[in-house]
Symmetry: D3
Amino acid sequence: MKVAVYRREHFNAAHRLHNPNLDAETNQRLFGKCNNPHYHGHNYDLTVCVVGEVDPITGYVIDTKILSDLIKTYVTEPFDHHNLNLEVEEFKSLNPTAEHIAYVIYERLRPHIAQDKDLKITLYETERNFVEYPIH
Amino acid sequence: MKVAVYRREHFNAAHRLHNPNLDAETNQRLFGKCNNPHYHGHNYDLTVCVVGEVDPITGYVIDTKILSDLIKTYVTEPFDHHNLNLEVEEFKSLNPTAEHIAYVIYERLRPHIAQDKDLKITLYETERNFVEYPIH
Amino acid sequence: MKVAVYRREHFNAAHRLHNPNLDAETNQRLFGKCNNPHYHGHNYDLTVCVVGEVDPITGYVIDTKILSDLIKTYVTEPFDHHNLNLEVEEFKSLNPTAEHIAYVIYERLRPHIAQDKDLKITLYETERNFVEYPIH
Amino acid sequence: MKVAVYRREHFNAAHRLHNPNLDAETNQRLFGKCNNPHYHGHNYDLTVCVVGEVDPITGYVIDTKILSDLIKTYVTEPFDHHNLNLEVEEFKSLNPTAEHIAYVIYERLRPHIAQDKDLKITLYETERNFVEYPIH
Amino acid sequence: MKVAVYRREHFNAAHRLHNPNLDAETNQRLFGKCNNPHYHGHNYDLTVCVVGEVDPITGYVIDTKILSDLIKTYVTEPFDHHNLNLEVEEFKSLNPTAEHIAYVIYERLRPHIAQDKDLKITLYETERNFVEYPIH
Amino acid sequence: MKVAVYRREHFNAAHRLHNPNLDAETNQRLFGKCNNPHYHGHNYDLTVCVVGEVDPITGYVIDTKILSDLIKTYVTEPFDHHNLNLEVEEFKSLNPTAEHIAYVIYERLRPHIAQDKDLKITLYETERNFVEYPIH
């Protein structure tokens, strides 16, 4: 009996879209106002989904308290009230688009979720723009 | 032409997490404050999804009025303003975790949905904790 | 690295459910108050999902600004503040159920999305009734 | 001990903005796409607030079940799935702006709420446009 | 320069509506399914508003971190995952209607908010039923 | 006949809480992680309320299209995708707390709203923290 369990968390961060391998003009053309060198920011809304068999003892796929603690340790504490480009290691060389942030969150959480369970990340940059990773 | 149709309903219920096959101390360790013997409660938010071919006469997969009535009869009327552990037959022997509640809702509705249609349950226990069943 | 990108837009429209190939009495029986000849209306909430590989230069599957402009041109401008039955070509002969509206939106957008990307439409008619198309 | 009690209800209706005392050109200039003669529509979201003393026997200002029934009888049943301009008496001579709809709802409910209680209407035409009446 | 600052918190609790000074039949007539002796429950959503002058040094009326900690200490920790009737002192003799819960929350917080500031409580029992206290 | 009309808009900005008249240590003690010198950010959600008499010709207090354009010109365009501390004139010398941002928005809009109308600003920094200005 497989169930998907979702836990929603939040973080508030500054970022700018900028590919350090491209010149300033190309960055400006590609990313427009999102390329502002003084940064802008978002209330990121994060949903982490874990899919697996229900444990017959607990009735849980995963205790959402444990899932919430993992997200806090590996994602929301290092990201919240920070500048993603300057203060989160992965984004020093990777443009922090919503697509890449979802990928980085997945990579940070994957080692801490049991291997027989699937993991999926949904990241809302705003109420109107959001992404999901991975897609099979 | 296959479409997924969703109908959202609500119910307010009391519950406690408790596995009657385990001793009190193990229940307390596994479920913490959710094990409180005096119960706590939730505004459960339920989305029922039916997937199937669109009927060329009506343009419907299923009339959401009919779907809503089925959910009321088999789920929200028997669950709403009730104590799940004490008053819903299935949970007298099954721990009412969100995973198990979604499973019970699926089992209650499945016989009333045409066999050539798929059924999926999403159950929000809170805005931040929710589950989906089944997962193929 | 495949990611799903979602963009949410809105439009406000009038409609009535009515199959012009059926007589008045059958339409009334099938669609009840939704068949009202004077129309009623909705704030339709539309989410368009594009699934594809992330471009290594931009970090985007698709620029949501471009996706938003496509949706405006082909869907929200022709639908918003209009009467779907009388003023949108496809619904002159097709009953504008949520299922059919999602299908029409898909058909309007599909030619403008790169062929190696998947497209999915979620259409909320109300907070409690919504549909998704296509389903594989 | 005075408390404000709020009850939220919904209705879906068609309307157009049109002042029958003005010519077509002026109506078009004043109301733009909202003046479309074929109508458009909304999911109106209505909150009715009743302010008064808490009854020491019940602990209620007003039973929200009773308040909900009043709103259904006098507002949502006559408005829902209807065309406000053509099918609601008051709007045959009154332009159905959000301001006027809130006023009409107030006038319909006021006689049915005890005189020692205050009544306030909040009407959402969309998530982004809403009004409140009366203002003292 | 006076500003109103709002902080939103949540708690999940069981309750039943029951006036211990009335007989069982009267309680059942007055409170219907809310009088169920086995309890039901809600995800209560609480907004606490503090109105006062902005401090010229901090730019705050009140640090929302401090306000959040006060709400946790005096309201959400003692109420969350508890049975209001059985486990919260005030409701052993007071019917836990939304009106009374808002009043009790106000009384618990008032001594901890500076006297030159106003305090207002908004309590959502469900998305559709909520109350505000006090009203001047 | 007085009505309050509300229009909701959004902007995404970076900021840090910092009083330039205080030393680094005091700023850190007062504002904690919100004082991060590399900035963080928010999806600010803004509701602008205009209260006044309903115009008997239009049925409007104010055309929300005009109100929306004013908000765009004076607030969301200069604030959106910008760094409030570095790029918005008023915050070069004023700590951008939610209280102060609401005050600045009020000051920017007040000259453009007719004098016989009242103006009120509600600013959500997050779903859980918001402010209202002015308060009479």
